[in-house]
C-alpha cells in the first residue's frame, strides 16, 4: 500500500507529461535533426543551434524581444503598483474597480488584436483619424515607431490590470500597524513607501515581474494580428520568428532548436531577476 500516494498523483502526472514533458523531449529530439519536407530526417548534432545563433534575423528578434520586455516591465509594474495604491481600500468602490480592471483580462489575445487592428485601420480606425486631427500621420503598417508603441500600448492596456490585482492583494495584506508606526516616526510619504510598502510587497512584486516577463516573452498574437511582424521585421519578436522558422519555412529542426534556446533564455532571465529582486534593498541603510 506504500504506492498509494502515487495512485492519486497519477492523473496529474499523466496530464503534465502529455502536455509538457513528452512534447519537450520530442522538441529536444527534433532540435538535433535536419527535417525538411520530402526528405528523410537525419541527425545533424548542434548544427541547428549554431545556424540559429549565427542568424541575423534571430539576433534581431532577440534584441527586439529584450527591449520590448524591458519596456513592458518598466511601464506595467510601476503603473500597476501606482494604480493599486490609488484604489479604494473599502466600500462599494472596491467591487466596481475590481470588475473594471478584470474586463481586459477576460478578453482573449486574438480579440484584443482584432480590436486594435480596427482601431488602427487607416480607413475607419479611430487612431489614425485622431492623429490626423492633430496633424500627425499615423500608420502602423509604414512607421516602425507607430507599430512599436501601438503594440506596447496593447500589452499595457491588456496586462497592467493583472499587475494591479496582484499588487492590490499584496497591499491589502500589509498590516495597518506598519503605516501607523511610520506615521509616529514622522516618516515622509516617500520614506513610508520606500521602507514600508516596497519591502512588504517584495514577494508579490517578484511574482508580478516574473509573470509579466515570461508573458511578454511569449507575445505573439498582438503583433501578428496588428502588423504581421512588420513593417519589415520591426515587430518580429522571438515567438513570431520561431513560428515563421518552423511553419512558414518548413524547417522543423531549426524551429525546435529555436524553441529550446528561447526556453533557456526565459528560464535563465527569470532566475536572475528572481535572485536579484530577492536580495534587492536588504539592509539598505546607506541610501536613507
Amino acid at each position: 500500500m506504500k504506492q498509494r500516494p502515487w495512485l492519486f498523483l497519477l492523473p496529474a502526472l499523466l496530464l503534465v507529461s502529455i502536455s509538457a514533458f513528452i512534447p519537450l523531449i520530442a522538441v529536444m529530439n527534433y532540435s538535433q535533426l535536419t527535417l525538411l519536407p520530402g526528405t528523410q530526417p537525419y541527425f545533424s548534432g548542434l548544427e541547428n543551434f549554431i545556424a540559429i545563433l549565427e542568424d541575423e534575423a534571430f539576433r534581431g528578434a532577440l534584441y527586439r524581444q529584450f527591449i520590448f520586455s524591458f519596456l513592458v516591465l518598466i511601464t506595467e509594474i510601476p503603473l500597476g503598483l501606482g494604480l493599486a495604491m490609488c484604489m479604494p481600500k473599502e466600500g462599494p468602490g472596491v467591487g466596481v474597480s475590481l470588475v473594471l480592471l478584470g474586463i481586459p483580462l477576460l478578453i482573449p489575445w486574438n480579440v484584443v488584436g482584432i480590436i486594435w487592428r480596427v482601431f488602427t485601420r487607416s480607413d475607419i480606425g479611430v487612431l489614425p483619424a485622431a492623429f490626423d486631427w492633430v496633424g500627425y500621420s499615423y500608420s502602423v503598417s509604414s512607421s516602425t515607431a507607430d507599430a512599436w508603441w501601438t503594440v506596447l500600448a496593447m500589452d499595457i492596456w491588456h496586462w497592467t490590470p493583472l499587475v494591479v490585482l496582484i499588487c492590490y492583494a499584496g497591499l491589502q495584506a500589509i498590516p495597518q500597524e506598519y503605516y501607523m508606526a511610520a506615521k509616529i516616526d514622522r516618516a515622509s510619504p516617500w520614506k513610508t513607501f520606500r521602507y514600508v510598502t516596497l519591502p512588504n510587497l517584495r514577494g508579490v512584486l517578484i511574482i508580478a515581474v516574473l509573470l509579466r516577463l515570461m508573458d511578454s516573452f511569449k507575445i505573439y498574437a498582438e503583433p501578428f494580428v496588428l502588423t504581421g511582424g512588420g513593417p519589415g521585421n520591426s515587430t518580429t519578436f522571438l515567438s513570431t520568428y520561431t513560428s515563421r522558422m518552423a511553419i512558414g519555412g518548413f524547417q522543423m529542426g531549426r524551429g525546435a532548436a529555436t524553441s529550446l534556446i528561447y526556453f533557456f533564455i526565459v528560464i535563465l532571465l527569470s532566475f536572475v531577476i528572481y535572485i536579484v529582486m530577492l536580495n534587492l534593498g536588504q539592509g539598505a541603510g546607506g541610501d536613507k
Binding site: A187, P199, G285
Partner: protein, 382 residues
C-alpha cells in the same frame, strides 16, 4: 499630571464599543487596561494615543486638550501585537530610524549612543546588524519596543505585545518589563486580556467591561477588592470561585450561607463577620482558589473550628509549570483550587477543602457589586 479622558464614546456601526469612558492615568505609572478579547481595549488605546478619533469626549495630556494634536506631534510610542519593524532595515537602522527622521536633528554620535544604550537595555545588542526577519519573535518584539522607547516618549502604548510569543519568552519579557519600566520615566499604558500579565507588571489596573472602565485602582487594591463580579472573576488565574447561597442565622446566633444542597458555609457569628448583611437573603459567595485549603487525610469534621469544609469531586488536574490547578465539580458548578507542585489524584474522587470565612467575598446577585469582604482580606482607604 498624566492622561485624563472624559466621557469617551466610540461606536462602529451599531456596536457601541466605548460608552462614556472616564479614566485618569498618573505619570510614571504602568497602567494596564484589562478585558477579554473584543471588549474595546485596542480602540481605547488608539483613541488615547491619537491614532483614532473618538465619536465624542475629550483626551487631556497634562491637562491639555489633545483633540487637535496629531499622533506624530505627541510624545508617544506604540508597540503592537505584531512585531512591527521596517523589514528591509537592520535592527540598528530600525532603532535609529525614529531619531533620524525627527525634527530635533540628533547628531550621528548622539544617535549611535542612544541606539547602543537602548539595545543594551533591551538585550538586543548582539543582533544589531541582523535584519528583522533573521531574528526570533522575542527579539523582533524587543526591537519594536526599542524603536518605541528610543525617543524617550512620555507615554508608551502597548497593545498585547506578548500575545504572539510563546510561554517561555512571555515570562522572560514580562520580568524584563517590570525591571525596565520601574527605572524609566515613561508612563506605560498596556492592553492585555491576560490577567496574569497585568497583575505581574502593573502599578495600576483598569477593567473594561461593556464599554466602560468599571474599576480602576492600584494593582493590589483591584486584586484584593474587586468591586464587581466580572472584575473578580477575570483578575485571577484561575478565576475566583462563585457559589450562590442564602444567609441564615440559627438560634445560637451562628451565621452561615446555605447552599442549594443544604451545605453550610460558615459566615461567622452575629457581630462577627458580615454584620451588615441581612439574613434570609440570597448572596453570591466568592473565594479565591488559593484560599481553598486541601485537607489531606485529615478528619474533616475535626479541628477546623469556624472553618467550613466543602467536598467537591475532582474532574481533572492541570499542571502548568510547578503549580497544579484542580478542576473540581461542586453542585454542578466548576470550582478551582490551587496546589503547589504536581499532584497525583484520581479523577472522580471526592476531595475535602476548608474555607476560612474571613477570606470570603460577598456579591449582590442582582447588581454584581461587592457588598462585603472577610476581615482577612486587605482593605484600602478609598
Amino acid at each position: 499630571m498624566g492622561i485624563r479622558i472624559e466621557n469617551i464614546r466610540k461606536s462602529y456601526g451599531t456596536e457601541q464599543v466605548l460608552d462614556g469612558v472616564n479614566l485618569e492615568i498618573t505619570d510614571r505609572s504602568f497602567f494596564s487596561v484589562v478585558a477579554p478579547t473584543g471588549a474595546g481595549k485596542t480602540t481605547l488605546l488608539r483613541i488615547l494615543a491619537g491614532i483614532e478619533a473618538a465619536d465624542s469626549g475629550t483626551v487631556y495630556y497634562d491637562g491639555q486638550d489633545m483633540a487637535d494634536v496629531a499622533v506624530q506631534d505627541r510624545s508617544v510610542g506604540m508597540v503592537y501585537q505584531e512585531f512591527i519593524n521596517y523589514p528591509s532595515l537592520t535592527v540598528r537602522e530600525n532603532l535609529a530610524s525614529p531619531l533620524e527622521v525627527s525634527d530635533q536633528n540628533y547628531s550621528r554620535e548622539e544617535i549611535n549612543r542612544r541606539v547602543e544604550e537602548t539595545a543594551e537595555m533591551l538585550k538586543i545588542d548582539h543582533i544589531l546588524n541582523n535584519l528583522p526577519e533573521e531574528v526570533s519573535g522575542g527579539e523582533a518584539q524587543r526591537t519594536a519596543i526599542s524603536r518605541a522607547l528610543i525617543k524617550e516618549p512620555d507615554y508608551l502604548f502597548m497593545d498585547e505585545p506578548l500575545a504572539n510569543l510563546d510561554y517561555k519568552l512571555r515570562e522572560q519579557l514580562r520580568s524584563d518589563f517590570e525591571r525596565l519600566f520601574s527605572e524609566q520615566d515613561t508612563t506605560v499604558i498596556y492592553a492585555t486580556p491576560q490577567a496574569g500579565d497585568a497583575l505581574a507588571m502593573s502599578t495600576h489596573i483598569g477593567f473594561l467591561h461593556d464599554g466602560n472602565i468599571i474599576q480602576d485602582a492600584p494593582r493590589d487594591e483591584i486584586y484584593f477588592r474587586p468591586r464587581h463580579l466580572p472584575v473578580a472573576q477575570f483578575l485571577g488565574e484561575p478565576p475566583m470561585n462563585v457559589l450562590s447561597g442564602t444567609l441564615i442565622e440559627d438560634r445560637s446566633g451562628d451565621r452561615f450561607f446555605e447552599l442549594e444542597d443544604g451545605t453550610r458555609i460558615v459566615a461567622g457569628t452575629t457581630g462577627g463577620s458580615f454584620p451588615t448583611l441581612s439574613t434570609d437573603r440570597e448572596y453570591l459567595i466568592g473565594f479565591r482558589p488559593q484560599d481553598m485549603v486541601y485537607l489531606n487525610g485529615d478528619d474533616p469534621a475535626e479541628a477546623h473550628g469556624e472553618k467550613t469544609v466543602i467536598s467537591p469531586d475532582l474532574a481533572f488536574v492541570e499542571t502548568v509549570g510547578s503549580t497544579s490547578t484542580l478542576h473540581l465539580e461542586y453542585q454542578g458548578k466548576e470550582v478551582y483550587a490551587l496546589n503547589t507542585g504536581p499532584v497525583h489524584m484520581e479523577a472522580g474522587s471526592t476531595l475535602s477543602f476548608s474555607l476560612d470565612p474571613q477570606k470570603l467575598y460577598v456579591y449582590d446577585p442582582e447588581t454584581g457589586d461587592l457588598i462585603a469582604a472577610g476581615s482577612k482580606i486587605p482593605s484600602f482607604s478609598q
